[in-house]
């Protein structure tokens, strides 16, 4: 995939300006229909999820006191993993989006929520709500495209270092919460800045993040094991917390990869986005830049309804429990205007996203032009590109481009 404006046929070429504004109006109407029917049932839903999450987490932690017994370790770890996933996905992420602000309950509010994650709510709201949701999939502006460490688009220049990106992506998945925290702080950019030149704002946010990580680690890796110590479950509690965090990290990383990385999801060119992008144009970008995961109600819940990524990106502030209901109406608009509504089961979307990560870790066209027969020569070419000079790399890339086009 390449930014839509450089594709042979721009997938939005068939739409007139009037069509795009019409799409905007129809999506606004869907949004308004949900706002008008938001009420006691929705409030009861989020309170129920919070209640279940709290009780599940407490119960799992209680069970883990006896984690010296293997079945209790398994039970407690499964429960704690699910609780942590629910907290981050269906509760934390969505509350911080302001999806529940309309209830005017200061306890379930975007301005007060702090989540069970290494990154601070403040940092997350900036990098995710503001940057990612506004500049979705604009190469160079939306840092979620590869989190600054990966190449996720043909238009990003290939360097040999990208060969390692499947590995980086796997490590990032395992320690995703720390990856997010570093990313929210724009750590890479800030660490390259000399110490004395770093902004006060960065220092303040970095110290908040460190404090938060310390508190999180104290809770999971000190207090809980200490409580389990008298029952002989200290080590069990420690490994259970580590496992639950790992499971939560890999799960949330996978879900998030499915939102924007599957093959077929479009990206955009910074220069091609007008300064006065209209509401219709913004909607259209969200429609093309997201992909859904199909599955059961439980799967939707565990993904925090990010399985309805398209609907979430169109209406990030509507309550997550209502995405399922608007999805068919949204799909109808896609169909009517000849746009592709990407939806597939989780394993397929995860595989597709990983395929993209692997494909783009290699030079453009390499994977497409490689088969069992030419593998040795292709590997030789890759070796040249990875170790050779810039000129050699350019030459080899030209060769690949020609072969891919043929």
């Amino acid at each position: 995939m390449t930014v839509i404006t450089k594709q042979p046929v721009n997938p939005t070429a068939h739409l007139s300006e009037a069509d795009i504004e019409d799409i905007g109006r129809r999506l606004d109407a869907i949004r308004q229909s949900v706002i008008e029917t938001r009420g006691a049932d929705d409030a009861a839903y989020i309170r129920k999820v919070v209640d279940v999450q709290r009780k599940l987490e407490l119960a799992s932690r209680a069970v883990l006191l006896g984690s010296a017994l293997p079945p209790l370790w398994v039970l407690g770890t499964v429960g704690l993993s699910v609780a942590k996933i629910l907290e981050n996905m269906e509760i934390g992420h969505n509350v911080m989006h302001g999806q529940w602000d309309w209830m005017r309950d200061p306890k379930i509010h975007s301005t007060t929520w702090e989540w069970d994650n290494a990154s601070t709510a403040e940092g997350w709201k900036h990098s995710h709500n503001e940057v990612h949701h506004t500049y979705t999939n604009i190469v160079g502006k939306d840092n979620d495209l590869g989190y600054c460490i990966m190449r996720v688009d043909e238009d990003q220049r290939w360097y040999p270092a990208y060969l390692g990106q499947p590995l980086w992506n796997f490590i990032n998945a395992c320690f995703f919460e720390y990856g997010i925290a570093a990313y929210d702080l724009e750590l890479g950019k800030n660490l390259r800045t000399p110490k004395e030149k770093r902004s006060e704002e960065f220092k303040r946010r970095a110290s908040n993040t460190l404090r938060k990580i310390r508190k999180q680690a104290t809770k999971d890796y000190l207090v809980h094991p200490a409580l389990a110590l008298p029952f002989g479950g200290a080590v069990g509690a420690l490994t259970a917390n580590f496992t639950a965090n790992l499971v939560r990290n890999v799960w949330s990383h996978s879900v998030i990869m499915c939102g924007h990385f599957p093959e077929g999801v479009e990206t955009f060119e910074k220069a091609a986005i007008p300064d006065d992008e209209t509401r219709g144009e913004w909607y259209l970008r969200q429609m093309l830049g997201s992909a859904n995961i199909s599955g059961s109600d439980f799967m939707h819940l565990m993904t925090g309804n990010l399985s309805h990524q398209i609907e979430h990106h169109l209406f990030p502030d509507l309550p997550s429990n209502r995405y399922a209901e608007v999805a068919p109406q949204v799909k109808e608009i896609f169909d009517e205007y000849g746009l592709t509504y990407h939806a597939a089961p989780l394993p397929k979307q995860v595989a597709s996203a990983w395929h993209r990560v692997v494909r783009l870790s290699l030079p453009n066209g390499w994977l497409e032009t490689t088969n069992a027969k030419n593998l040795p020569s292709q590997l030789g070419l890759l070796w040249t590109m990875a170790t050779g000079s810039k000129a050699e790399r350019r030459k080899a890339q030209k060769l690949l481009d020609v072969r891919a086009a043929a």
Partner: protein, 349 residues
């Protein structure tokens, strides 16, 4: 709410415990008073600091999932069971009052504030007291009376109550008041507007010949209280009044209004038209405001509306914050998609 705070976990199990952040109460009984009113008996959280009869309490109620705050007079003195009570009259179109009268049920949790208000009987009690009430204006006064008559020592004060209501059946606490009158505890003058017409302050002298010797406590509609204040000021008589809904927030017709941005450094007032986001209006006047996407998506610009009205530029929806009624933290609004809809006060950085 966060998994990092123990309080939030405890809230799941013991919302009324001492030390809970935010005072709450649990409804223990809902008793109809008239066809249009009901008494809600509430067990307040352990941190309830008590009250003096005549005071009111701010109550946060969830209606259709949205938390709305109103103030109601406490209609009992301190009770042996530790519960508090409010009596609510359903006003036509009143979202919260109708909810409380018709849909509240035991087990519901309400948000509370500590009792407030200086509409309380003087201590020691003046020897001659006149109480003038109309409609639900009886609610703070019934609290005073119940408290007086539940004490072990007899009440020596001479109490006259002039109460006006639409109909005889519509008199809240009618049977109880008439019983007090039969027992000789108070002198009761009931006025039923349907039969007798509106109570005119000029008639008071005829109803209560020794008016000049009495300390007056009054609660009721604005018109009655204004007339009474004028009357008592002219005659130089002592008067205590309780005004319900003292402020009505004026809402514009779509042409904006005056927005005041409040920070620790001071206040900035700007005239903002009905099409300009408050974020832009504030920034162009040099006010520091949090901001983000500027299109209503990121919730990075949310600040509290302390009082006044704003309109959502996307769908025209109004948000109104009424002083003395809206929660202590105001109503958070997104300034990037909200325009002034009349006079409003908003927090800035």
């Amino acid at each position: 709410m966060t998994p990092l705070e123990l309080d939030d976990v405890l809230d799941v199990f013991a919302p009324l415990r001492a030390g809970a952040p935010g005072l709450r109460g649990k409804v223990v009984a809902v008793r109809p008073e008239t066809t249009e009113s009901a008494t809600i008996v509430v067990r307040p959280g352990r941190d309830w600091a008590g009250h003096v009869p005549g005071q009111y309490v701010r109550v946060g109620v969830e209606v259709d999932g949205v938390r709305l705050w109103r103030t109601y007079s406490l209609t009992h003195g301190p009770r042996p069971d530790g519960c508090i009570a409010i009596t609510v009259k359903a006003i036509p179109g009143g979202v919260v009052s109708n909810h409380l009268v018709r849909r509240a049920k035991p087990g519901d949790v309400l948000q509370l504030d500590q009792a407030q208000g200086d509409f309380v009987l003087a201590s020691p009690l003046p020897s001659k007291v006149l109480m003038v009430t109309a409609g639900s204006g009886i609610t703070p006064v019934i609290g005073m009376l119940r408290n007086l008559f539940s004490r072990s020592e007899p009440v020596r004060a001479d109490i006259v109550l002039v109460h006006s209501a639409l109909t005889r059946d519509g008199v809240i606490f009618g049977r109880e008041l008439r019983r007090y009158a039969e027992q000789g505890l108070i002198t009761l003058h009931e006025r039923h507007t349907d039969a007798d017409g509106m109570l005119d302050v000029a008639e008071l002298g005829g109803l209560v010949p020794d008016l000049a010797e009495r300390t007056t406590y009054a609660c009721g509609p604005v018109g009655l209280l204004d007339a009474l204040e004028a009357h008592h000021t002219a005659a130089d008589l002592p008067l205590h009044v309780e005004r319900f809904r003292p402020v009505v927030v004026p809402v514009d017709a779509g042409d904006g209004g005056t927005a005041t941005f409040v920070s620790t450094a001071g206040e900035t007032t700007v005239e903002a038209n009905g099409a300009t986001p408050l974020l832009d209006a504030g920034e162009s006047a040099g006010v520091l405001l949090p901001s983000g996407c500027r299109m209503g998506v990121c919730f990075g610009c949310v600040v509290p509306l302390r009082e006044g009205a704003v309109r959502d530029l996307r769908n025209g929806e109004l948000t109104v914050a009424t002083p003395g009624e809206t929660g202590p933290d105001g109503i958070p609004i997104q300034t990037c998609v909200s325009a002034a809809a009349g006079t409003c006060r908003i927090d800035s950085l």
